[in-house]
Symmetry: C2
Subunit: 342 residues, 2 copies
């Protein structure tokens, strides 16, 4: 029914295997023959069948990204969307398709027992050439063990793990926190608060540390509050601060909390940035449409996934990679930061 390698071989007057070699870009084919085969492929419009390829023992050309089921669904259900997922797609799809791979997303349960079983299943059913692990799965040693045991290349989107040389892609959370502080001190602020998210989120701890260190270096007193990444919690904290002469500048760990600050400030008649400066650590699409547009740290999410894909495809093609890869972030200055009030 569909055109097979056999058809191409016949048309070019060679054997299957030679055609296969050409398709896979393997050496050991005379230029003249290669060209003849390429012509035949083009003329017949031959496209290899991935399932058969995989059956023959080759790659599946699938890169699988694994996300936390609970959190992802929760965000969707709450109508917050998952800009994170969208960014993953941005980086991952383009990187993959450039090399003929496809990107597949899977939602995996948080609970470790379930997670291991679910990953085992997708591993054997789909046989992806590489796996990308995001929070919190990237910090699950059982998952790493399973993947290592199966000999599947995987990349963790997470901070480097001291007792493992597994491939890991991340950005400088601490440096970004420091950059935010520096930007604000540069504007003359001295009461700078950090509106943090969740302690169970490892990157959050590192950001707190970066913030703390930067404040200490500037001779300032740190002030950390727990906002739980939530609009309401952050709003309550903001109200308390704004009504009682709190900080003149706030670094919020995500956009939702930043929006809450904006909201409360607007309600209380506090002008941004004249009376309050604000930096978000997330920069979702909404950030630039806020009133006023949010100054924000832009995490290189798409770039991290793209890099992870690259490394995994390299590994699938016999160039195993490991170690950690740190990507640069941006501090995008929009309109929520300004000189400290006097």
């Amino acid at each position: 029914m569909s055109i097979t390698i056999e058809d191409v071989a016949k048309a070019a007057g060679v054997s299957r295997q030679t055609v296969s070699r050409v398709i896979n870009g393997k050496p050991g084919v005379k230029p003249a023959v290669r060209e003849k085969i390429e012509t035949a492929i083009a003329e017949l419009g031959y496209v290899p069948n991935l399932a058969a390829r995989r059956m023959g023992g080759a790659r599946s050309f699938l890169i699988m990204a694994i996300n936390d089921r609970e959190r992802t669904i929760e965000n969707w259900a709450a109508g917050h969307g998952n800009d994170w997922v969208d960014q993953m797609l941005y980086g991952g799809m383009l990187a993959c398709e450039a090399r003929g791979y496809h990107m597949l997303f899977e939602l995996i349960d948080t609970e470790t027992g379930k997670a291991v079983e679910q990953v085992r299943r997708v591993l054997t059913s789909l046989q992806p050439d590489g796996i990308i692990l995001t929070q919190p799965h990237s910090e699950n040693p059982e998952l790493a063990a399973l993947l290592r045991e199966r000999g599947r290349p995987f990349a963790r989107i997470a901070l480097p793990d001291a007792n493992s040389d597994a491939l890991c892609v991340h950005f400088d959370d601490a440096g970004a926190a420091r950059a935010a502080v520096d930007h604000l001190t540069g504007l003359g602020h001295r009461k700078i608060a950090f509106l943090a998210g969740d302690r169970s989120y490892e990157a959050s701890l590192v950001r707190r540390e970066g913030y703390g260190d930067a404040m200490k270096d500037a001779g300032l007193e740190p002030l950390i509050a727990e906002g739980g990444y939530s609009f309401d919690k952050a709003g309550a904290i903001a109200r308390d601060w704004l009504e009682n002469g709190g900080p003149t500048a706030v670094i919020a760990e995500n956009d939702e909390m930043a929006f809450a600050l904006l909201h409360v400030a607007s309600k209380l008649g506090v002008e941004v940035p004249e009376q309050l400066s604000l930096i978000s650590f997330e920069d979702t699409p909404g950030a630039r449409f806020a009133v006023p547009p949010l100054t924000a740290i832009r995490q290189p999410t798409a770039a991290m996934i793209a890099r992870a894909c690259e490394l995994l495809m390299d590994a699938a093609e016999g160039q195993p990679a490991n170690g950690d890869h740190c990507l640069p972030f941006d501090l995008i200055v929009r309109e929520t930061t300004g000189p400290a009030p006097r």
Copy 2:
């Protein structure tokens, strides 16, 4: 190396084919035998290999969603993200995994010649069981012809096509526009404008029509402006309106334009909703965090994709579906609509 159907067959003391029947839920297996096989599957932790399954001539368990490459990448590059894609994932992934399928995304060029070739390629390389076509591919007759010729079930996320009974999933664009108008007239507004997007986008035309009809029915004069879905264009129009006693209420076709209105209103000291009411036709996550939060039409994007997946999986399993499926929308009243000023 990995556990095969053969292993299960041996463990249960039956043949391959019987195990296969059980896996595929086919009839004609005695309950006792079925149970024995299921036990063996569970004990061995057997998981079928999808590539082999496909090779054997069965389904691929893949549903492929096709998006417009240019627009999608443009949105990503501009930092606007693609909430649309995120919503597709929401609906699609969950629907698929519930029945053991996987959802795959592909970016396909807008130009029709390229599109047909690219779709042909993914069709033969991945052999998906069903294809979801979104704008503008959903309106490309060549693509539809290709898919029909190949006998691949496909669903268009688009308005029904009069001269085709192809499967089609959509929502009531005209009705939503009317609902927006009705909400505003109910609040006493009489100068209601429609800030439209792109004429090349078929749904936009239908929305204009719905708006126009509703205005006529209310005995009001329609006022349509072309905002091209762009922040800047919409901002210019908004400035003109607000400075020259324009409409007291605006329906914007997407959030970005609505944000522009909010932005300009804030700049000009025009109070929302006291002096200007605003409804968006999109409702991305940013809408609820805007100041003030946007009243919006909520399109059932996730639900449409989920429905499309369901229908395609049914088709893959021998229950071909066609005709059009219209899903309900929501008008979510937040804080940008209020009584008309006097």
